[in-house]
Symmetry: C2
Subunit: 192 residues, 2 copies
């Protein structure tokens, strides 16, 4: 077994014992993840199909395990947002779009996968690191929402803006799912 | 003159007659842009040092020239936001961080520049396209704000959230400027 395949095997074993807070791959991106992992020259190291979240603000907070107060990978309502039990710390409300980290074994393969991602509307995609046996791609898109939400345990955003946030976040989530489907289809065309 | 240098010369000539709405390179990123353009193997094709903007929402709107209602590359106040003359269309309020597009002539050079960008805290940086004579890098960072702002010419966000938006946007702008300085310094160290 060559070095790349050893890294791939170790990585796929880790996915089975996923240490993330969610503990599994999101359903909307599962087919694409499996499809990539079935290719001899590629494997995925992390994925998210798009999510709405409430997160504590502050320096270095994203590295803290307990920074997230709320995460949802499906459509959201204002009522749900209002029922979240909030901490004293300042919190932000976010929509983050689909993101996928893919490892490969050559520059040629990296550019091949990058082209498929970008042609599928994943316009925030690039090759982000290079090691002899592992080249990493980060594939993502442009949909984003990020706004102040609460302080001292109290929501500071008014209802009208929360309503608008939910409408836009739900639209963007649908857009992210469509882009996952397009990537899956374009990858299928290539490998058929 | 080789092909890469011909493309570089043509591109730098274009910058002098910049067709963007702003018509010039932002002052906080000018030193970095000039430094990159002075290197034989690199040139910049576009840049923004970070900005606060109000933009019309809707399908394909970012491609429209008149989509932007307001743009500012310096700190902002709630009073300024409230004095913007708004259109009937729904608008969003945004903070977008520093972004820089860099062209180079080889994969090795692309990875060299990418490493400097990422080591300078520009964590959203990658190689985004490959042509024989021009490899493109997009270098950016993670700071972002994007929220609903107005509809039918009326601001829908309450004052408390606008206040918080301004505080956070101004902080993020400072952070973006610090990252520009760090990139400039790290690039200097390499080329000295």
């Amino acid at each position: 077994m060559d070095k790349f395949n050893k890294i791939k095997e170790d990585n796929l074993a880790k996915i089975k014992y996923d240490k993330s807070s969610k503990g599994s791959i999101d359903e909307p991106i599962l087919t694409l993840v499996n499809q990539i992992n079935s290719l001899p020259d590629f494997f995925t190291t992390s994925s998210c199909s798009g999510r709405i979240s409430v997160i504590k603000d502050g320096k270095g907070i994203t590295k803290q395990r307990n920074a997230w107060i709320f995460k949802k990978h499906q459509a959201i309502t204002v009522e749900e947002l209002k029922s979240i039990v909030l901490p004293k710390e300042r919190c932000s409300l976010k929509f983050e779009t689909v993101i996928l980290h893919i490892a490969t074994n050559s520059i040629d393969n990296a550019f091949k996968m990058l082209k498929i991602a970008r042609d599928s509307g994943w316009k925030k995609s690039g090759i982000i690191s290079y090691k002899k046996n592992k080249i990493m791609l980060e594939c993502s898109s442009t949909e984003v929402l990020a706004m102040p939400f609460s302080k001292e345990g109290r929501i500071i955003a008014n209802d009208e803006i929360l309503e608008e946030f939910c409408n836009q976040a739900n639209e963007k989530l649908e857009k992210a799912h469509m882009k996952i489907k397009k990537f899956t289809k374009n990858l299928q065309l290539l490998t058929d």
